[in-house]
């Protein structure tokens, strides 16, 4: 009996594997893709990358300008993450099953957050570009909307998980809703909240590069400019600097996280 169950299980796995291979072959032949030649091209691509993207003396002379734009991007990311987090916290309090005061309001809050999260940042950038033009505000709002959506959802989850007991207890003491939130819910979740904001700052710096290309602001714009005018060494310097900044922010935020959690 057990043997039979095991055999059926095995047959399922085999069928799934065969199906995957067939799917790959069908899809591959449809778009003329060949895995072998794809992999073979990787070393050549890497060689080209390392030959062209190594920063040289010409690109180093651009350093002050690049740093200026990079700082602009970092500050933009921080500003978007912090302002979005405040709005996200309010929406999360309205939308969490534990703290919501009104089912309708809660559902509306969740829907708004869901929309702003599920529209990709590149799409936000293009939509906002139409209304704000090539402006730092476009970059800010793009990052703002996506961060807001993600944080609202994250905050709702942490509040739902940790705060039902505290809300119950403080309500039973006669505390008002604002008191329950500020004395119970926020202290309960502050570690998670700060941790999520730090994470969103990191994500924003990474995605602000792409957003910058689309909206013509910050370091993304500069990268796009150098890249399209074939000044690869300067573009390479930008990549290195972005990687360095992300690493620094990641290390700092990990250190902060360890302290507060």
């Amino acid at each position: 009996m057990k043997l039979k169950i095991m055999q059926t299980e095995k047959r399922y796995f085999t069928a799934a594997a065969v199906l995957l291979i067939i799917l790959y072959m069908l899809a591959g032949s449809a778009v003329d893709f060949n895995l072998g030649s794809g992999f073979l091209a990787v070393p050549e691509a890497l060689r080209w990358l390392f030959c062209n993207f190594i920063p040289d003396s010409q690109s180093v002379s651009k350093l002050p300008h690049i740093m200026n734009k990079l700082m602009e991007t970092v500050f933009l990311s921080v500003a978007a993450a912090t302002t979005a987090s405040i709005l996200a916290l309010l929406f999360a309090l309205a939308g969490s099953g534990v703290t919501r005061r009104n089912l309708l309001l809660g559902t509306v809050a969740r829907i708004i957050a869901s929309i702003s999260r599920n529209v990709p940042d590149s799409v936000w950038a293009m939509i906002l570009l139409l209304s704000f033009g090539q402006n730092i505000l476009t970059g800010f709002f793009t990052l703002f909307f996506v961060t807001f959506g993600t944080l609202t959802r994250a905050f709702i989850e942490t509040i739902d998980e940790t705060s039902s007991t505290t809300v119950e207890a403080l309500t039973a003491c006669g505390a008002s809703w604002w008191q329950v939130v500020s004395q119970g819910v926020i202290p309960d979740n502050i570690g998670e909240i700060v941790s999520w904001i730090l994470y969103e700052i990191e994500v924003n710096i990474r995605s602000s590069t792409l957003v910058g290309m689309l909206t013509g602001t910050g370091i993304g714009f500069l990268f796009d400019l150098y890249y399209k005018s074939m000044r690869y060494s300067s573009a390479g310097l930008i990549i290195l600097l972005i990687a360095a900044v992300t690493l620094i922010i990641e290390t700092t935020s990990n250190a902060i996280r360890r302290r507060i959690l």
Binding site: E168, A169, T171, C173, A175
Partner: protein, 251 residues
Amino acid sequence: MAILEISGLTKIYKSTIKALDSVSFSVKKGEFVSIIGPSGAGKSTLIRCINRLVDATEGTILVADEDVTKMNSTELRRLRTKIGMIFQNYNLVEKRLVIDNVLHGRLGYKNTLAGMFGRYTREEHAEALKILKQLGLKQYAYNRCDELSGGQKQRVGIARALIQNPKIFLADEPIASLDPASAKLIMDELMNMNKKTGITCLLNLHQVQTAKDYSDRIIGINNGRIVFDGKPKQLNDKIIAEIYNTPLQNE
């Protein structure tokens, strides 16, 4: 004199599940009453209806002659300050200090802003420390709650309820998560408080023997209905079997 009068209390969840089915009883001032019954019998719902953590579907609940079910939010806040409550899982803000958690018991008395920013008066602080001292927790006043043991956390819960200066004390399975020694300590503390200050106590309990040892009166609930209401010594094996749906053992 009855401090709590419940009549015809019915609670229906999701329009089909009947958690309480026309429950009626009254509790005299200063009584120590235990509610026993199997899991899912409606004990927690019953206790939560009294301070409106759960809204009753039907029936009236009079606390000191005021109908709880008809109160607006302001009246409700005032009522809740008069009812202290402790929980099975202590329900403390674990990341805050012990003294902060005790002072939470004062929130119902404060205006919203003062409460939000935790601005308590010198007297409230002194009172919190005094209560912690009574409960043997003075040396932990400035520790974070998550550093305490289960029994200590439950005592913080009691302190938070006491600083409310309540007339009624509700407890939802107060010792279900504790080891026997801590459980005894908590029960002794509750009884001691009941005898000394005359606070009416209403407890949900899982342990029949504990209920018999400490209560003035026991109420047995099964499937949302009261099946027993009397003195501990009237509670015999036959009635216990009826409350818990277990067949009576022939010995």
